[in-house]
Symmetry: C2
Subunit: 248 residues, 2 copies
Amino acid sequence: MQMRATVPITVSGLKSACSQCNLVELCLPFGLSNRELNRLDELVGARRKIKRQHNLYHAGDPFEAIYAIRAGSFKTDVLLEDGREQVTGFQMTGEILGLDGISTEIHSCNAVALEDSEVCVIPYDKLEQMSHEVEGLQLQFHKVMSREIVRDHGVMMLLGSMRAEERLAAFLLNMSQRFTARGFSAQEFNLRMTREEIGSYLGLKLETVSRAFSRFQDEGLIAVQQKHVRLLEPARLKSLIQHQPGAR
Amino acid sequence: MQMRATVPITVSGLKSACSQCNLVELCLPFGLSNRELNRLDELVGARRKIKRQHNLYHAGDPFEAIYAIRAGSFKTDVLLEDGREQVTGFQMTGEILGLDGISTEIHSCNAVALEDSEVCVIPYDKLEQMSHEVEGLQLQFHKVMSREIVRDHGVMMLLGSMRAEERLAAFLLNMSQRFTARGFSAQEFNLRMTREEIGSYLGLKLETVSRAFSRFQDEGLIAVQQKHVRLLEPARLKSLIQHQPGAR
DNA sequence: TTTTTTGGTTGACGTGGGTCAACGGGTGTG
DNA sequence: CACACCCGTTGACCCACGTCAACCAAAAAA
């Protein structure tokens, strides 16, 4: 059973301070002046801790805030009545969650922590208000939303016209690139999600994901052990994605 | 060969007037007060006509404006180096094009007219500026972007976890619903796109789309002739989407 | 520690949809 | 008005991925 409190016990009283945060260049405040950054500190409310496997929000919840990931990682998914799940994305530190709720003021997907995590709560009404005042904030927020749209188009490309190995290669390279942006190794990292979650995201069954991992390993492209992945030949992985013979 | 002029000959000198437009409740100005609506008239620049098969913009073009469709319809697509195309959406009157360009200030997809069409050009810098001033405009714009994100998640669901017939059923019901919103018949309409474009959007080959159309017709769910579609049993179409046996 | 559960791998087999090919009707063009 | 091309349909065949099942390792619980 998961907690569903709107004001969960896990809320920390600490105010976040964007101006002090080392995630600025990955997060909403990117590109703001110091003066603007100080104003942002007013905007960002309390932090909130979310335990592994617990929801930050559920589909159907009223929309009140967006969230910036301070530590940890999440998945977002949508469910069909018959129980089918589609993972729509994996989010890492500095990325923004909850944008799906703006349009109808009700969240349209679930956000679930893949590990014990912490987010900064950004009340949406305050964000709206401050966007009117702070020059760069509005532009930055628009860019965050637009980036999400572009990212989604990339996933559609992947789901609509790539074969299994291409999808996994694209996924691994994307993860690598995002770890790099956070100062981690581009070649070696620990995935936070299961084969089944990867499969759901890539439109494949978990067995197919597992087999593709094994085949990559057999061909010397990567070294995998459970969630630990090492990219041995990223260039060859990259070339897998384009000019695939017999592409869909 | 397609024209690629940034200021094409097809630009009309006419200023658009949102306050006079019968598409308000489908378009960006939805929910604005009359006073706000009048301010919007300043914002919206010239109209621009796009001939069938011609691009409103190309991937790689610098981003300068977003576009509201005044008449006609479009598809957006992304291309892979090897020529594979993924249609990321079909857009109808009142819908907004170009949001993909905000994040990098370069368009990341192509927007192609499916028929002779006309758009209202909304210069982005002006929109940014006016969003600071006009109360409801910012919120409305955010909702438009958020709706796009939610829509994209729906497409991912479709591509990632539905079988061919479910995808086509979902597509037809979505078209029906959007025609209805524009005052057209929910049961009977003309598609503007080819089987190949539908296939690309749904992650299927054109032959599969054609076969699914035929099977629906055989089962008395619809009547199709070329691009003309009549939904005979929308309820049964709807039930096709959920609780499908042996779903992916 | 031992036990249980969950997650990952691998094999054998089946099938939905892709591929290739032929054909016919519409539609836009010269 | 006639030609050409594009679009849609249908059939035969094939293969990538799904399904089902067994098994093992790792992690969590007891």
